[in-house]
C-alpha cells in the first residue's frame, strides 16, 4: 500500500469506504440477478408443463421431467440444424484463418510495393456493414448457382470475417522478432518453410483471438441464412429455431426447451473459456 492511499483511507474513514463498497456490491449483485434471471427462468421452464410455467414461473422444477427435451429431440429437426451450424461455422473458420493468415503474413512480414494498399483494401471491409449489400450478394449467389447451399453461407462468412482477421493478425505478425527468421534464411530455408515451421507456431495466440471474434457472430448469425437458405434440411440453428418456434406456439415448455438447447452449446463453451471469449470479442475495441 502506498502512503497516498493510506492517507486517503485515514481521511475518508473506514465507514465511508465501507458504505461506498457496499453500494458497489449492491449494484453489481442486482445487475447479475438481472443478467442471469432470464436464463435461469428459461432453464426452469424447459422442464415444466404449461400449467407450471403459468402458475409458478420461478419455482424449481423436477429436472427429471425430460418430456419437453425429448419432444425437441425426436419431433423437430433440431439435431440437423445443430449439425448444419457446426459444418458451416467450422468450414468458415478454417477458410477465414487460412486466408487471413496468408494475407496478414504477406503484409506484416514482407516489404513490397503496394503492401499498404493491400492492407487498406482489407480494412475497407472493417467498417462497412455487408448486410446492406445483400441485394447484390443475393444476385451474385444466384449467378454462381450456390443459393440454397451451405457454400453460400460459408462464402459470406469468410468475406465478413477476413477484414477483422487480417487486421488483428497483421498487427501481431508485424511485431514478431526477425532473428529466428533471418537465422533460418541463412541456413537456406525456403520462405514457405520459414512461414510454416518457424513463424506459424508463434502466431497461434493471435489466431485464437481472431478465431473467437469471428466464431461467435457466425454461429449466431440469422440474417444471411434468412436470405440464402430455404430448404429446411440446410437451416442453421438460429434459423431453424424460428421454424420450430412457429410450430409449437402453444406448448411453452417445448418453446423454452428449444431455446435452452439452442443456447446450451455456446453457454457451456463460454463458461469454460470465458476469459478467452471476453478478450476475443472485445479485441477490436480494446487497443
Amino acid at each position: 500500500m502506498s502512503t497516498a492511499s493510506q492517507s486517503y483511507y485515514d481521511r475518508r474513514g473506514m465507514l465511508a469506504t465501507l458504505g461506498k463498497d457496499g453500494l458497489i456490491q449492491i449494484i453489481l449483485i442486482l445487475n447479475t440477478v438481472v443478467m442471469l434471471a432470464p436464463i435461469v427462468i428459461m432453464l426452469f421452464a424447459a422442464f415444466k408443463t404449461n400449467a407450471q410455467i403459468f402458475q409458478s414461473p420461478f419455482s424449481i422444477p423436477d429436472f427429471s421431467n425430460l418430456a419437453n427435451i425429448t419432444k425437441i429431440w425426436s419431433q423437430t429437426n433440431f439435431l440437423r440444424y445443430l449439425l448444419n451450424s457446426v459444418i458451416v461455422t467450422g468450414a468458415s473458420m478454417v477458410v477465414i484463418l487460412t486466408l487471413g493468415t496468408m494475407a496478414a503474413y504477406a503484409v506484416g512480414r514482407y516489404k513490397f510495393r503496394g503492401s499498404s494498399f493491400v492492407l487498406m483494401f482489407f480494412l475497407a471491409g472493417l467498417t462497412l456493414p455487408l448486410k446492406l449489400a445483400i441485394i447484390p450478394l443475393f444476385i451474385l449467389m444466384r449467378d454462381l448457382g450456390i443459393l440454397n447451399t451451405q457454400l453460400s453461407l460459408i462464402v459470406i462468412y469468410v468475406a465478413m470475417g477476413l477484414p477483422t482477421t487480417v487486421f488483428i493478425m497483421t498487427g501481431f505478425i508485424a511485431t514478431l522478432p526477425n532473428e529466428l527468421e533471418d537465422a533460418a534464411r541463412m541456413d537456406g530455408a525456403s520462405e514457405p518453410r520459414i512461414m510454416w515451421s518457424i513463424m506459424l507456431p508463434l502466431v497461434r495466440p493471435a489466431m485464437v483471438i481472431a478465431g473467437i471474434q469471428n466464431v461467435v457472430p457466425i454461429w449466431n448469425d440469422f440474417f444471411f441464412p434468412l436470405i440464402f437458405i430455404q430448404k429446411d434440411n440446410l437451416k442453421t440453428l438460429p434459423q431453424g429455431l424460428t421454424t420450430f418456434m412457429g410450430e409449437y406456439t402453444t406448448d411453452w415448455g417445448v418453446l423454452f426447451a428449444g431455446l435452452l438447447l439452442s443456447s446450451a452449446p455456446i453457454i457451456i463453451v463460454y463458461i469454460i473459456l470465458s476469459r478467452q471469449f471476453i478478450n476475443g470479442m472485445t479485441a477490436g475495441a480494446v487497443k
Binding site: 492511499s5 445487475n31 432470464p38 462464402v155 520462405e191 418456434m245 431455446l259 463460454y270 475495441a285 480494446v286
Partner: protein, 306 residues
Amino acid sequence: MPGSPLVARRLWITALIVPPLAFVALFVVYPIISAFAYAFFQWHGLARGEFVGFANFYRVLFTQPYADWTLNAFTHNVLVFFALMVLQNGVGFVLAYCLWRELPGAAFHRIAVFLPVVLSTIIVGFLWKLFLHPLFGVVNISLRGTGLGGLAQPWLGQGTTALWALIIANAWHMVGFPTLVFLAGMQRIPSEILDAVRMETESEWVKIRKVVWPLVAPSATVVFTLLFVGSFNWFELPYIMVGVDGSPHKATDVLGLYFYRTAFGDQSGSGQDFGAGSALAVLIFVFIALVAGVITFKLRAREIQL
C-alpha cells in the same frame, strides 16, 4: 541463374496475397460497389431494367407512401440510438466503474454481465417475446403476483410500449460489451495518476469527471461508434419480436425492417422492389459512413495519449 531467389520471393508473396485478395474483391468490394450501382436502375423482379438516374432515391425520399415510411423508420432508429446510449453505454460505464474496484466476487459479476452477449439475438428475441406475453409472460405474471396487476399490459402489442420493450431487451443482451470495453480502458489508467488524484480530492464524482472519463475516451469512441452503426443496422431483434412489418401499425418499424420489406417483400410476400430497396440501402450506408466518420473524428480529438 541470377535473380531467381528474388523471382521466387515475388512468386511466394503473390501466392500468399492473391487468394485472400481475390476473395475480398469478389465478395466484399464488388457487392458494395454494385449496391451503389443497382440503385440507379429500374428493376423487374430479379432482372435489371433501364438506367433511371436518381428516380429510386426520389421515390423513397419524397413520394408517398414511401416518404412517410422512411421518416417513421428513421425517427425510430434515432430514438433507439439515444435510448441505448443511456441504457447500454451509460449503464455499462457505471458497471465498469463498479467492477474496476475488484471487490470480492468481481470476477463472477464480470462473467455474468457478458453472458447474454454471446447468445444469438434470435434466442434473446424469442426469450423476451415469451417473457412479455400479455397473459402468460413472466413479466405480467410477476406484476399481478405482487399486486401491481394494474401495470400489466400488452407490452409488445401497443404502440406506446413496443419500441421501448425492444430497447430494454437489446440493452439486456448487449450491456456487457460496453461494460468490458470501458473496464479494459479503466484498467489501463496508470496507478501513479490514480494515487495523485487520491491526494487531491475525496469526491468520487470529481475523480470520474476529471480523470477517469477523459482517460477512457478511446474506449468511449469505439463503444459510441459501434452503437451508432448497430442502432442503424438494427434488424434481428425487431424481426423476431414484432415481425417484419414493425407491428403494431409500424410503431416499431426501423430502417433494417423497412429495407428488408422493400427489397424482399412483406409478410404476405408482396411489394418486392430491388430498385427502391437498393436506394434505401445506399442512403442508410452513406448516412452510417458519414456520421460514424464524424463521431470517430470528433471523439478522437478529445482522446488523450497516455
